[in-house]
């Protein structure tokens, strides 16, 4: 069918089943927007481009499919860079469309020209500069395929404005075949056998579940594997919720900010089974020591992650959903007899860990608030945390049985929570969605309150106000002899008034005794709601 490239671009999105996109227009992407206005695809106008990326990120994580964001050339594109790198570091599938200046002026530094494919090269899965209008269908088909398969990631399509206006004969391909891109699926049977044998020999095995469990949609398979073998499960920050939080063999988060019994399990283990975890430094700070002491099975879709940070005994490359089923099948349930003492030992350690939910003089205890929030939220609620102390309070208290926990793991991008929560809620309007942030990170994304109102996204917001960049303050206390500098947030607005300016109701609390009522208001509000909890500036992360 004859149509313009911009109509074809919209058609491509429709053919990919895209229902909603996040974006911010400008001159060079106007032809696309013109065509989009005649489509049923819902466009959510964010208030700065970075947040179009984070919203698509939240959307993609909830749907498991590539999500789309669209921005204009030059400053629109560069504003989105943090959104792209955040998605890349956490392997989130995303297709990014950027407008570009007219093709015959490319390279001459005209108004709002920036080499965005070049700029994003180090932190993007792939990118296209679409100069040939006849390639539009192929490029879109490939972009969605590349973004969503193998190790997922962001893919960018940069389209010059004149190309968007050209006419093409369009039909969307049903098949895609890229000779240089063939992601693996099943694990090598020989390696699976070796892994099963290593498990049979182990006495103190532990599964480390990472974000890859979600990328592969392998939550059920992971649970089945752990249930059959009775191997306990710890998780990384990205792997929170990989097994249900009420599962008896779930030990919690490992790493720098993890819980003691989970780290104990990793240290005392004789066999580590890494499932979709890339051995990042915050989760596993001293991989060389671990590699020397234990046997390691590493299951990952990306062969480059295996052996990158950690010497591995048994690499298994492939889709971990398939590989976990292969392994579950291969293994004899009787092996679980081998580590009864181990489970008891771990339970003993766990019994000794008591979170501190005590009172704070004139302040709210953030751990207690998160604890109660997790008790009271819907069974399938989504918590989207920001970065800082608030992230770790949220992470370690996460206990929503069928819930999801979203955060920026690899980049630790402040300002992630609210826009990502918007995206998550747009994907799952029926699921309670709660963004948790600090007063610093909230001010990196508070402009999105308008988006919540405009697009009727009932996201709940919890702000922990300590008038500090809390996590940096804590670091300065510990590592710089308490020389606190540039961490004071004086000058912040009254968040209740700010919310009110957007017609968003709110409550501010100073005492643990107020938590209960405040949560009732937060959770029962029809639309967006803001709960500000005043937190002691000296409150610690752990």
């Amino acid at each position: 069918m004859k149509m313009t490239v911009s109509q074809a671009m919209v058609s491509c999105l429709e053919q990919e089943g895209i229902r909603q996109i996040f974006g911010y227009p400008g001159a060079t992407i106007c032809p696309f927007y013109d065509a989009l206005s005649r489509s049923d695809i819902r466009h959510v106008l964010v208030r700065t481009e970075q947040n179009a990326g984070h919203a698509a990120n939240g959307y993609a994580r909830m749907t498991g499919k590539p999500a789309v964001c669209v921005v204009t050339s030059g400053p629109g594109a560069t504003n989105l860079i943090t959104g792209i790198s955040t998605a890349y570091m956490d392997s989130i599938p995303m297709v990014i469309i950027t407008g570009q200046v007219v093709s015959n002026l490319l390279g001459s530094d005209v108004f709002q020209e920036v080499d965005i494919t070049g700029a994003c090269e180090p932190f993007i899965k792939h990118s296209y500069l679409l100069k040939d209008p006849t390639q539009v269908a192929r490029v879109f088909k490939e972009a969605f395929y590349i973004a969503g398969t193998g190790r997922p990631g962001p893919v960018l399509i940069d389209v010059p404005m004149d190309v968007q206006k050209m006419e093409v004969d369009f039909s969307y391909p049903t098949e895609v075949s890229i000779r240089s891109y063939k992601p693996s699926s099943k694990g090598h049977p020989g390696q699976i056998k070796k892994a099963a044998a290593a498990i049979a020999e182990a006495r103190h095995p532990v599964i480390i579940a990472g974000g890859g469990v979600f990328s592969a949609g392998a939550e059920k398979e992971l649970l089945a594997f752990s249930q059959k073998t009775r191997i306990p499960v710890v998780n990384t920050l990205m792997g929170i919720g990989a097994v249900p939080s009420d599962y008896d063999l779930r030990l919690g988060m490992i790493g720098m900010h993890g819980v003691r019994h989970a780290n104990y399990a990793v240290h005392q283990a004789d066999l580590l089974i890494l499932a979709g975890s890339r051995v990042a430094d915050r989760a596993i700070p001293s991989p060389t020591v671990l590699a020397r002491q234990k046997k390691i099975i590493h299951m990952d879709i990306d062969p480059a992650e295996i052996g990158k940070n950690l010497g591995v005994d048994i690499p298994v490359v492939g889709d971990i959903r398939l590989m976990l089923s292969q392994l579950t099948e291969e293994i004899d349930a009787a092996v679980s007899e081998n580590w009864q003492d181990w489970l008891e030992e771990l339970n003993g350690v766990r019994q000794k860990v008591h979170p501190d939910y005590g009172p704070r003089d004139g302040y709210v205890n953030p751990k207690l608030l998160m604890h109660q929030l997790n008790q009271r939220a819907d069974r399938n609620a989504i918590i989207v945390s920001d970065v800082g102390q608030n992230q770790m309070w949220s992470a370690n208290e996460f206990a929503i049985p069928q819930g999801r926990f979203l955060t920026s793991g690899g980049m630790g991008t402040m300002g992630y929570s609210l826009p990502a929560a918007m995206g998550a809620n747009a994907a799952c309007p029926d699921r309670q969605t709660i963004a948790v942030c600090g007063d610093g990170s909230f001010q990196m994304c508070s402009m999105e309150l308008a988006t919540l109102v405009q697009h009727r996204l009932p996201v709940k917001i919890v702000v922990f106000s300590n008038n500090r960049l809390g996590m940096v303050r804590e670091h300065q206390t510990v590592a710089y002899d308490n020389n606190l500098t540039a961490v004071f947030l004086d000058g912040s607005p009254d968040f209740a008034k700010l919310a009110a300016a957007y017609q968003i109701p709110s409550v501010r609390i100073h005492e643990n005794s107020e938590i209960d009522n405040a949560l009732t208001r937060l959770l029962e509000a029809e639309g967006p709601f803001l709960l500000e909890a005043m937190v002691d500036p000296l409150e610690t992360t752990l």
């Binding site: 180090p122 792939h126 000779r179 240089s180 891109y181 990306d302 062969p303 990158k308």
Partner: protein, 164 residues
Amino acid sequence: MKHTLSVLVENHAGVLSRISGLFARRGFNIDSLAVGTTADPAVSCVTLVVDDKQNEVEQITKQLNKLIDVIKLQDFTPEEIISRELILIKVSANDQTRSKIAELAQLAGGKIADITRNSLTVECCDTTDRLENLLELMRPYGLKRVVRTGTIALEKGSEQLTIE
């Protein structure tokens, strides 16, 4: 040990910058790099020589394979390949030294490509080791300019690196 990587890539704009960017940001060192098209004009071959001091060749090849434009690559040890590099050396020369230089260059496998009153340009196509040797022979006479292409290589024997 030196490794020679033959990397078959899609012949698109931007591919070389993706490869060189990968080496730069991951801190991999390249000894030499040469690019050219293959028998199939849609495919280019990038030949990279790397020194595997930090045991990084495995990671290099895995990361290269992740680039969507990389179709196939193979890692060769020096014994497995025939390798060649082209060098052009402009040496200072005068009536006293000219014939001496020319004789040395020819003995070392070079040819005289250009001659002027005060210089000689020597060309040579050979293995990197032999080029180094030639260069050292020329050095005492005063090197004015030296340019080299980087190594290209093929596997020995009748086997061949193909896309399928």
